[in-house]
């Protein structure tokens, strides 16, 4: 076949001169400094923040004690946001995770007073999974928008939480064995950090190194095309809600074990930070894609900044200002870089 004279000019193949020579032949990963910055800028900012605070507060900031404290207090929000990641990848919202945490913390507190904790945990998880399945069913089979479905579910759950708790914080008869689950350490590392690390690794492996992850991303990328390529998208979307509900229940149990109480007021305030972390995470590591490592970096970035500012004696209102500012700046920068990339 003769195609002489149809030399198609392809700009996309031309790399800018600024690209280091050895990058040009890379098969994957950032090919230009711009792409590198887009992928790892947030990590650089994270490291810079740690260094800056360590210099400013040398006696307390760069200590293992401080790191433990920050990571432990962030473990719940990170867990909830990791759960949210699954619906986010397939292109859905789950607004019910906040009140799910509240509901399950109370459920666990009530149940473990009267039975061995593994049974209490199993029942709590099972109820959460059932609720997640109902949400998924309404979204996939009935075709209700997930925003509305999970908003309704969230309100139902907050009502349920108030009902079973009688509006009170449940602290009685919680066995020490349950408290140990949230308060002990293993090899000097607090258990909550270990739980969330295990969860992150499992999800990271599923998303990045298993067919199911690819199918989830394809479902989010173009559901019809994925379906036509043989992906069982309905099943996947349903399971996404089951996973986010289940993970939120784990976070509820963890909160309860850490604090020794189940309360209708913990949980709802986790929703927005968890969402912020999901979106912040999608701007880094693999820009434009919801991803586990980005999510972890997002949570850490906010946590490190906030804790440093607090230890420097920042006023109480600085925290939300910092959180909101970082999210907006990150989203704007990633948008601009994406435009440049696709220009």
């Amino acid at each position: 076949m003769s195609t002489s004279g149809t030399q198609v000019v392809d700009r996309d193949l031309e790399l800018p001169d600024s690209a280091p020579p050895h990058w040009r032949n890379r098969k994957w990963g950032p090919k230009t400094p711009g792409e590198w910055l887009a992928a790892y800028g947030a990590v650089v900012v994270l490291i810079v923040l740690v260094i800056v605070f360590s210099i400013l507060i040398p006696s307390t900031y760069p200590t293992w004690r401080n790191a433990k404290a920050i990571l432990t207090s962030e473990s719940t929000v990170l867990m909830v946001s990791l759960g949210l990641l699954v619906p986010a990848i397939v292109g859905e919202f789950d607004l019910s995770v906040g009140t799910m945490v509240a509901f399950t913390s109370i459920e666990m507190a009530l149940l473990c007073a009267s039975m061995a904790w593994p049974f209490a945990l199993a029942i709590t998880l099972l109820s959460a999974i059932t609720i997640g399945f109902v949400s998924g069913f309404l979204v996939v089979k009935v075709g209700v928008n997930s925003f509305i479905t999970t908003l309704g579910m969230s309100t139902l759950l907050s009502g349920g939480a108030l009902w079973i708790s009688g509006g009170k914080t449940i602290t009685e008869h919680i066995p020490q064995s349950v408290l140990n689950l949230g308060q002990k350490e293993l090899l000097g590392i607090p258990l909550p950090i270990i739980y969330v690390a295990i969860l992150a690794i499992i999800l990271w492996y599923c998303f990045n190194h298993m067919p199911i992850g690819r199918k989830l991303y394809a479902t989010g990328g173009n559901r019809t095309a994925a379906e036509l390529a043989g992906v069982r998208t309905k099943r996947l979307v349903m399971s996404a809600f089951v996973v986010s509900a289940g993970v939120a229940a784990l976070a509820g149990v963890l909160t309860m074990a850490r604090s020794g109480s189940g309360s209708p007021s913990v949980g709802p305030e986790l929703l927005l930070p968890a969402f912020a972390a999901v979106f912040l995470g999608s701007t880094t590591i693999i820009p434009g894609r919801f991803n586990v490592v980005g999510n972890v970096v997002g949570v850490l970035l906010l946590a490190v900044g906030v804790s440093g500012l607090q230890q420097l004696g920042a006023e109480f209102y600085v925290v939300p200002l910092f959180n909101g500012g970082v999210l907006l700046i990150a989203v704007v920068i990633s948008r601009l870089l994406a435009k440049e990339r696709n220009a």
Partner: protein, 522 residues
């Protein structure tokens, strides 16, 4: 007559790539000036310069209505000058009514206190719609309109009091997404706009309609003007030669088809919303074209075979085994590959990479002990990119960054790599440039040579005649004709689709049965 738009020495350089060089052309009022060329020939760049998205190189000149314009143009100056750009995507707000969409452009008629005078608005909207020959209620939602109605609405709202005179319209593949029936209505409107004295730059891959509509044809090749023809000076042949420097026949020489005798796909008595008792069979290595106008049921046929939709009645057999796919996965497992009609909606995931799109259909070769290896994917995808000539040949490029032709090649490749037993391709070359079109025909032929039974669903008679071994013509869900061998020509296919039911042309006994019209009427 003085030209409405005059381009002189237009050039554009990106980095060290000159994508447009020294292009000069004129558009006179009341003239349709077609702009054709392969993908990457510089058509889009030229349009984007006019629309104010790209800055042209120094030395370029653009004159509109005798006034030399200050370069570079901005979107605002381009619009103020009188240039209007209408794209195949028909950018309308789906959730608003026809009237509201019209007024978005023109501004609302307001009365005391800034309230909208809805009655006057409706009257104005009706006048506008009438002027373009659309008889639709202005209160209807745009989402309910057909593709051609949307396109016409886009053109209608660029008028000023139903007058298009003195403006320059750039129509970028207005019919790419339209079946030929609906395209007719758009042609009529384009003619009307021209008659009012507007200048039109008409960009299209469909050479037939270019020949029919254009007063003058400019051909771009490698960013330069390769040829210019006046009406009647050229035939399709000549245009293709100008576009590629070769003739169409050289691009793709159809090899004599070797059709096996073994029946691969057998459909019996298939019924659905559109289809009425359709039966047909496709042999090993055979390409059966299914032709019909919009609503004839050919897409439904494709969806049944692919497991997207379940038929109301009827059976399907692949290699003699009954197959009843209740979902797409079942069909794939039975060996069906399905290239859907709407590439953007259903064919590709634009945010994912070439590699990810290619491997999605079957991830097992790249999975070991449950682990999906990106490295083995890259190795597996490389020969596909070469074999299917996908550009750019970078597996990590996102699909949204590829041209339409290359996206479609990815869709073809992701199915053909699975060696389907049955391949269903629904309008596989819609909105694709000629070069890619012929590549796609070649891929389909290669699949057949590998033993696949192919159903090629198309509303282009020429495509059916050119690319298939045998054709069936559908109308209102019934097979009204079957053509093969020397009877399989573009004209015969088209004529057959207009012929009365019950008078099938060239019906073979092999495989095709005519639907019992009487029984189906109840």
């Amino acid at each position: 007559m003085a030209p409405l738009l005059q381009l002189a020495g237009l050039g554009k350089t990106f980095g060290d790539a000159r994508v447009l060089r020294d292009v000069s052309l004129e558009v006179e009022p009341g003239q349709i000036h077609a702009l054709i060329g392969a993908n990457g020939s510089g058509k889009s760049t030229l349009i984007k310069i006019l629309a104010g998205f790209h800055d042209p190189d120094d030395g370029s000149e653009i004159t509109f209505n005798g006034t030399k314009l200050d370069l570079p143009l901005t979107e605002a100056t381009s619009k103020a000058t009188g240039m209007r750009f209408i794209h195949q995507d028909a950018p309308l707000v789906d959730t608003l009514s026809v009237l509201e969409n019209l007024s978005l452009e023109a501004g609302y008629l307001t009365g005391f206190g800034g309230h909208i005078r809805w009655r006057a608005e409706a009257k104005r909207a009706r006048r506008t719609l009438e002027s373009v020959g659309l008889s639709i209620d202005p209160r209807r939602l745009v989402s309910e309109l057909s593709a051609s109605e949307r396109m016409m609405l886009c053109i209608a709202r660029e008028s000023e009091n139903q007058d298009w005179g003195g403006r320059l319209f750039v129509l970028d593949e207005p019919t790419a997404a339209l079946p030929s029936e609906e395209a007719e209505r758009v042609f009529a409107l384009v003619e009307r706009v021209r008659a009012q004295g507007a200048g039109i730059i008409y960009v299209s891959h469909r050479l037939g309609e270019v020949l029919r509509l254009a007063d003058r044809i400019s051909v771009l090749r490698d960013g330069a003007l390769a040829a210019r023809f006046e009406r009647g000076e050229v035939e399709q042949e000549g245009m293709v030669t100008a576009m590629f420097g070769t003739t169409e026949d050289e691009l793709y020489e159809a090899p004599p088809a070797v059709v096996g005798t073994k029946t691969r796909l057998e459909l019996r008595g298939v019924r659905g919303k559109r289809l009425k008792d359709l039966s047909c069979s496709v042999a090993e290595g055979e390409i059966v074209g299914v032709y019909g106008l919009l609503g004839c049921g050919k897409s439904e046929l494709g969806r049944f075979v692919a497991g997207v939709q379940r038929p109301d009645a009827g059976t399907m057999e692949i290699d003699g085994k009954p197959v009843k796919p209740s979902n797409v996965r079942d069909a794939i497992d039975a060996g069906v590959g399905y290239v859907p009609q709407d590439r953007r909606e259903a064919g590709v995931a634009a945010s994912m990479t070439i590699r990810e799109n290619l491997t999605l259909t079957d991830l097992t070769p790249f999975t070991r002990f449950g682990r999906l290896s990106a490295a083995s994917e890259r190795a597996g995808v490389k020969p596909l990119i070469e074999r299917f000539g996908i550009k750019p040949p970078d597996p990590e490029k996102r699909l949204g960054q590829l041209s339409g032709g290359n996206q479609q090649k990815v869709v073809m490749a992701k199915w053909l790599r699975c060696d389907p037993v049955v391949l269903v391709a629904d309008e596989p070359t819609a909105g694709v440039d000629i070069q890619s079109k012929h590549d796609i025909y070649r891929f389909i032929r290669e699949a057949a040579e590998g033993g696949a039974a192919v159903l090629l669903l198309s509303s282009e008679a020429e495509e059916i005649a050119f690319a298939s071994d045998r054709a069936i013509v559908l109308r209102d869900g019934e097979v009204i004709a079957e053509l093969s061998g020397s009877r399989l020509t573009k004209d015969a296919v088209q004529q057959a689709s207009f012929r009365e039911t019950g008078q099938p042309a060239g019906l073979d006994t092999n495989g095709i049965k005519i639907g019992d019209g009487v029984r189906d009427e109840h």
